[in-house]
Symmetry: C2
DNA sequence: ATATATACATAATTTTCTTATGCATAATAA
DNA sequence: TTATTATGCATAAGAAAATTATGTATATAT
């Protein structure tokens, strides 16, 4: 909600990171997971999420597997081999970005 | 350079934060300060910076003062009273965002 | 019956960048 | 001395990445 306008550019990396640690996830599950991890701070909108998933798939970073659970459709996404390698790079970049931001907004913070 | 695509949405807050702690700064100075603070990681482009400064001014958050130094033009920006109040809010939001990102990419990090 | 949760999708629009360009002066390197 | 780099501003065109608004459909809770 309040911070929803701030995660621009990092959504793709968030998706990759979650898939890396969870193995496979479906779209709705990702939105709920992020909400839980951030105590409601980051709300990923569907209009951002689904196009992002489709793009990552088109880029060859994700594979899809359709399932039907409780008569409802689910599309499970998981990292391809290329996707796993990309995830490492993008995560490193995002972590560096976070450190840079901290150096600006609060140089006193220490990160361990 | 490498991370330049990641700071979308946070540039305004960075500007406000720097002006809050430095009192007044001119555009070029801001780009150099950010570069120094982030060891070259974040490069603020002029095409992003100047429109952002103009917009913040139009919103009433910044005041401008033109100076001529070494026969070159400088536009010093500083926070208005409204700008100072906004800075507090936006900084809090950005810090919360950074914490949220950390909860996702590295839940083991502790921040002090 | 109605609202909320689950689950996907896309189109229109807006925001916010990047890239490219332009002007001008000062300092430094070739 | 001439070319490049640094300093300093600005804006236009285009791309990227969101938001907002829809749309479809099933399940569950009130």
């Amino acid at each position: 909600m309040s911070n929803s306008k701030l995660y621009k550019g990092s959504l793709n990396t968030i998706i990759l990171k979650l898939l890396d640690e969870q193995g496979k996830m479906y779209g709705y599950e990702i939105t709920q997971k992020v909400k839980a991890l951030t105590k409601g701070e980051l709300q990923i909108t569907e209009g951002a999420l689904y196009p992002a998933l489709h793009k990552l798939e088109a880029e060859g970073l994700l594979d899809v597997e359709v399932a039907k659970v409780d008569n409802r459709l689910r599309k499970y996404y998981k990292l391809t081999e290329v996707g796993e390698k990309e995830t490492i790079n993008r995560l490193a970049e995002l972590e560096e970005f976070i450190r840079s931001m901290q150096n600006i907004v609060n140089p006193n913070w220490s990160i361990n």
